[in-house]
């Protein structure tokens, strides 16, 4: 058995609607491996998914009273989590490393006088301390880091851990938490919120297969979408494709878009600019279709096809259909 902490590990549990999010189930699974003590959750919704929280290992779920404020406001979320921290007195706080999670992590580190590490790809315990693995400089360096004082705050990348349920676990026990919100938190007003239609495909950051279209698809994403659907994957894009308006901005993979670590990445008409590859370099298997043999993305490819996407993809799609009957 690997070394473990003995105190509580507190996980900030994200919900998608009324359901516990996939990345949160992963972080809860990770938390269980880190402590011999309790795993607790804090939910930023009044009605947490206690059944799922229990199945993934949370005994307790702290439910801060948001007083009608929106948890999408970073300060509101952070102050709610801090109130739960004060009650749970955890040995560590874990979050999902999304943009929202990173914002909360930063605020927690400031308020707790500790440190935060985001984009973690693995966490273990050595000599009573959390040791965090993290890849930096656009995927070119591997590091391990520690938090040197106070309650460590660690945000874990989606798909870094495989979620596993506990057999026969009962629901998590909700515990109400009062919160004193600061003026700075109350000052931000949410004017409107519009959810993008997901189109029935897996969320990009969690998808095991992602098919990405770049400038080379020349405005037509239909082949990319067809291939993604055949492989049960999600559709991504380069910034060029989103800037051109060929697909929604939410599909952008890279530095300033979504970070993905799928098992299989398929890039179609993508050159491999560092801004883009920064967001997909941890993909396990990389497949590329590009008509320019000198495109830098071929250096990352496990299989690279030099060819015209409008010829290669229809043939591949037809063959996939035929083989799958």
């Amino acid at each position: 058995m690997a070394e473990q902490l003995s105190g509580t590990v507190l996980v900030v549990a994200d919900h998608a609607g009324s359901a516990l999010s996939g990345p949160s189930t992963e972080v809860l699974t990770l938390a269980r491996s880190l402590t011999a003590g309790p795993v607790a959750a804090v939910a930023l919704t009044g009605e947490p998914d206690t059944a799922a929280l229990g199945r993934f290992g949370a005994g307790t779920v702290y439910v801060p009273d948001l007083d009608g404020l929106s948890p999408t406001v970073a300060a509101v979320a952070a102050e709610a989590v801090l109130a739960a921290v004060a009650q749970a007195r955890p040995e560590a706080v874990l979050l999902v490393s999304s943009f929202a999670g990173k914002e909360i992590a930063a605020r927690l580190a400031v308020a707790l006088g500790s440190g935060a590490i985001v984009d973690a790809t693995g966490v273990s315990v050595a000599d009573g301390t959390l040791v965090v693995a993290k890849t930096v400089l656009q995927g070119t360096w591997d590091t391990t880091c520690v938090v040197t004082r106070g309650v460590p705050v660690v945000a874990v990348k989606p798909t870094a851990v495989t979620a596993a349920e506990l057999p026969d676990a009962g629901p998590a026990e909700p515990v109400a938490v009062p919160v004193e919100f600061s003026q700075a938190a109350r000052a931000v007003r949410v004017v409107s919120r519009t959810e993008h239609p997901g189109g029935g495909r897996a969320p990009l950051s969690e998808a095991k297969v992602v098919v990405v279209g770049g400038r080379g698809v020349a405005g037509d994403f239909s082949l990319v979408e067809e291939l993604a659907d055949l492989l049960g994957g999600a559709v991504g894009a380069t910034r060029v494709a989103t800037d051109e308006g060929w697909i929604d901005h939410a599909a952008q993979i890279g530095q300033t878009g979504v970070t993905i670590s799928p098992r299989l990445y398929v890039g179609v008409g993508v050159s491999g600019a560092i801004h883009h590859t920064a967001g997909m370099q941890s993909a396990e298997t990389v497949v590329v279709v590009n008509n320019d043999a000198d495109a830098p993305i071929f250096e990352m490819a496990d299989l690279g096809v030099v060819g015209d996407a409008t010829e290669v993809l229809p043939q591949a799609i037809a063959e996939l259909r035929r083989r799958r009957g």
């Binding site: 999408t72 970073a74 930063a106 500790s114 106070g150 939410a250 290669v312 043939q315 591949a316 063959e319």
Partner: protein, 269 residues
């Protein structure tokens, strides 16, 4: 509107970047203004133009970080403040936020600062944590990751896209704003602007000029900045082995079939 825009001098993304034995980024070889801060400077200058205000560019960093300030001045900032002190080296994001917050407070002694603008992330650390850490240190509201910004009187409204939703948020000044690369098209300085920048004031401060916020750190009794004040440390750092060379095939009519076979063999589930 009196605006402070925070900028950072970082190693060029296209250059060979590395970490030193302490796990700190090697700087000073091929450094440039952080690309994403160009959007911050553009947002600050545009807002100042719209509201008849002033922009002060601020950085904390070694001597040559003044180049990042020069670029901000060329893009239209009116003045610049450079916090440079060996004791800042090795700070983590919380320490950096404390230094910048202390500098913003000092800039505010002359006349109140209405708005602090930053880029969404720096291309070196890419943690995207600084804007939030800065807002928390300054105890100001934050409107972060804005892809659109509008101002009406004392109220700022932003659009932010996070995950699978667009949200419109608003707050009254003073506040901390961070903008994404979608927010604007950074201007390219004209020759007259480059010439004019040479005459703009750059003030240099060290830590003795600043009163650092004591929140959090004082309880531990430790320093607030620098490597010994940092809440995080790098234990090991090693360059990643390059990916093993893959198989490259050139389409001569049946590459699609081969592609399908590979996908079938490698697609999970």
């Amino acid at each position: 509107m009196r605006i402070v825009v925070c900028v950072k001098h970082v190693p060029d993304l296209q250059s060979e970047r590395s970490l030193d034995d302490a796990g700190h980024l090697v700087r000073g070889e091929d450094d440039v203004l952080n690309e994403l801060d160009e959007n911050a400077v553009e947002a600050a200058v545009t807002l100042a133009e719209e509201t008849g205000g002033e922009v002060v560019a601020l950085t904390a960093g070694p001597e040559d970080a003044v180049d990042a300030l020069r670029r901000a001045l060329q893009m239209g900032a009116d003045a610049a403040v450079h916090v440079t002190d060996e004791r800042v080296a090795g700070s983590d994001v919380v320490g950096t936020a404390r230094v910048l917050a202390a500098a913003v407070r000092k800039i505010g002694e002359d006349a109140p600062v209405d708005l602090v603008v930053t880029g969404m992330a720096s291309m070196d650390g890419l943690t995207a944590m600084l804007p939030s850490a800065l807002a928390a240190s300054l105890e100001l509201p934050q409107l972060t990751l804005a892809s659109e910004v509008t101002v009406a009187g004392r109220e700022l409204t932003v659009t932010r896209t996070i995950g699978d939703a667009d949200e419109v948020q608003a707050a009254e000044l003073p506040l901390v704003l961070s903008v994404t690369d979608q927010a604007n098209e950074p201007r390219y300085p004209s020759f007259p602007a480059i010439r004019a920048a040479k005459g703009k004031p750059v003030t240099t401060w060290d830590l003795d000029d600043l009163t650092l916020a004591t929140a959090g750190a004082e309880a531990d009794g430790g320093p607030e900045v620098g490597a010994s004040g940092a809440g995080t440390a790098v234990v090991t750092a090693a360059p990643r082995p390059p990916r093993a060379a893959g198989r490259i095939i050139t389409d001569s009519g049946d590459a699609g079939t081969e592609l399908a076979e590979f996908l079938l063999a490698n697609a999970p589930g």
